[in-house]
Amino acid sequence: MSPTTARAVRPALVRRVVACAAAAAVVVPVALFWNASRLPAQYSITQMGSVEPGSGPRLPGQLAHEAHGHGTAGGAGTISVANLVEDRSGPADVSVTLTARSERVELTPGVEIDAYTVNGTTPGPTLRATQGDLVEVTFVNESVPDGATLHWHGMDVPNSADGVAGVTQDAVPAGGTFTYRFVAEDAGTYWYHSHQVSHQQVRKGLLGAVVVEPAPAAPEVVGPEVAELLRDAVDVPAVVHQFGAHRTVQGATGDTAVEVAPGQAARVRVVNSDNGALPVWVSGAPFRLLAIDGTDVHAPTEVRDQAVLVPAGGRADLLVVAPDDGTAARVELGGSAAVVVGPADARGEPTRRPAVTLDPLDYGDPASLGLDPSAATRTFEYTIGRRPGFVDGHPGMQWTINGRTFPDVPMFLVREGDVVRMTIDNRSGEAHPMHLHGHHVVVLSRDGLAATGSPWWVDSLEVGQGERYEVAFVADNPGIWMDHCHNLPHATEGLVAHLMYEGTTTPYLLGKATVNQPE
């Protein structure tokens, strides 16, 4: 080798090595992040995420988790979610069979869609019970290919009846059945939907309304005037669901007529079964917001020229009185469908969405919360953000909870009886309808502004970009409960955490190697 050649070779070699090193500096971290994000073929939700004991006393589950890296919460004295069943035995007061089917449905003449039906329709039949009833639902999956479940959205059912595939049960395969038993503890408007491949099965209509009537009427809550109106009010479940360009109300497109005499009232139970917030307002009459997420508002005053924003998964009960002049009042559901309340031939004039949106923070009269937030035994932060990264090997801008992506998200560990305060802070650039299973939570403040109206109890809370809500609840329903975004595609992207009671385990598994895909 001549000296000239050696001189030429060295820079070439150096250049090549530097190029390889630089490429490795780019590729290796990306590959490591990608690999680390991949989920195991099967895993238990109890092994997922990192324990957040909040500010309260340390719990045994936290110690077990710290000792083993992962593990079930608690050592001795554990209870399986499968054993967290309804205490009350005996025959059910309400007993129904709900059969899910994959079939074609005619939305409107000439428009057919592929849907999942319950007892042949979407939405399925409205399940009606009286407060305190023992409800038994036999769920039959006739032909939903991925398997299905029923989740009782907003109802504080025993954990084994919560219907989350891979957490509280296995998905019911086509041809299988599952029995849900629970007491309808709270009156109000709720809904049921599949919690297996839910982003797809809910979109295709595997859902329906649940109405729990109060045992006695409650004039002390709503006031004598409203109690009087309610006495002969027509009860109208209105499950709103969007199929492509078609907004449907109880499965029908366009206007839904509710025939009432002038001066008579209708209680319109709006259920938003979609993935984004639904604005609702009333044309041609004032209205009262009777209930939010099933819980009655104290002293619901008359509202004019305001819209109510119903979060994805949320409910709003509107009391509308047909005008005395024989015209109709229109409950506008986003402007593309309406419930028309009035005499048979009456039509109302549609109006645009009012500029003002009703703020439940100061609507109605304050009343006892039944819990003391200042005596909270545990406080949690649930901060939603967004950053580039991988979730299960998929690249993209990922949702984060407390700075970390799925599955490394918090497991909020509580002890039965805890009074929990949670701050939900949304810094992610998009709105998120946050839904906690198995519990009602009460809003304490938004952006530091304290709630001064009727106790604002929710299970589905719209947390807009930049908003910070403080909520409280009592940990009174042991089990493992999802605490996730009800914009269901966001949940598939990893905006899912869970609340876990100490000493709880689950025999069910999640992951590609199992039948269970709850989101």
Binding site: R16, V18, R203, N275, A277, L278, A312, A431
Partner: protein, 162 residues
């Protein structure tokens, strides 16, 4: 590798064209949908994100999001890696510039969902990214001769092996 580098740079420029095209396609479809009496709100929009579009052009929004947040960053990373092997002087600086502009573009795009002015900058940055990507590819050809005049590694390598 020079060709790979150059091609990737041009593909990124074409990617920006694609982004602009599908966006306007979707917005045009949205306009037609509304003119024909369609109504849009969050519930309807998000349902579309879940895979059930209200109008056929709505797929443009989805393509814009997927291409912009998944394909373009991957292409920009590949361009940076290719630049290390391209033996084009300054290539890595230009590739890094493209990568930074792609990252900025994603940030501006998402920020535009809450602050519309930043959405406007997303449009401006798109043209900057397009120009930089195009120039990054074009300068390879224009500087080809200058680079070949250097005692480049390939010829040295051939001499070494012979």
């Amino acid at each position: 590798m020079r060709q790979v580098f150059r091609t990737l740079a041009y593909v990124i420029a074409v990617g920006v064209i694609f982004q602009a095209a599908v966006m306007v396609y979707a917005v045009a479809g949205l306009g037609i949908y509304i003119e024909e009496g369609g109504v849009v709100d969050a519930a309807a929009m998000e349902q579309a994100q879940a895979g059930q579009p209200m109008f056929p052009e709505e797929i443009g929004f989805m393509l814009h999001g997927m291409n912009g947040m998944m394909v373009m960053p991957v292409l920009a990373l590949l361009l940076l890696i290719a630049s290390f092997f391209s033996r084009v002087r300054g290539a890595w600086k230009w590739a890094l510039g493209v990568l930074v502009l792609v990252a900025l573009q994603i940030v501006l795009g998402l920020a535009g969902h809450s602050v519309s002015f930043l959405g406007a900058l997303h449009g401006v940055n798109a043209l900057i990214l397009f120009s930089v990507a195009l120039y990054t590819g074009w300068r390879v050809a224009s500087r080809g001769r200058a680079t070949r005049e250097e005692p480049v590694g390939s010829s040295a390598g051939e001499r070494l092996s012979s």
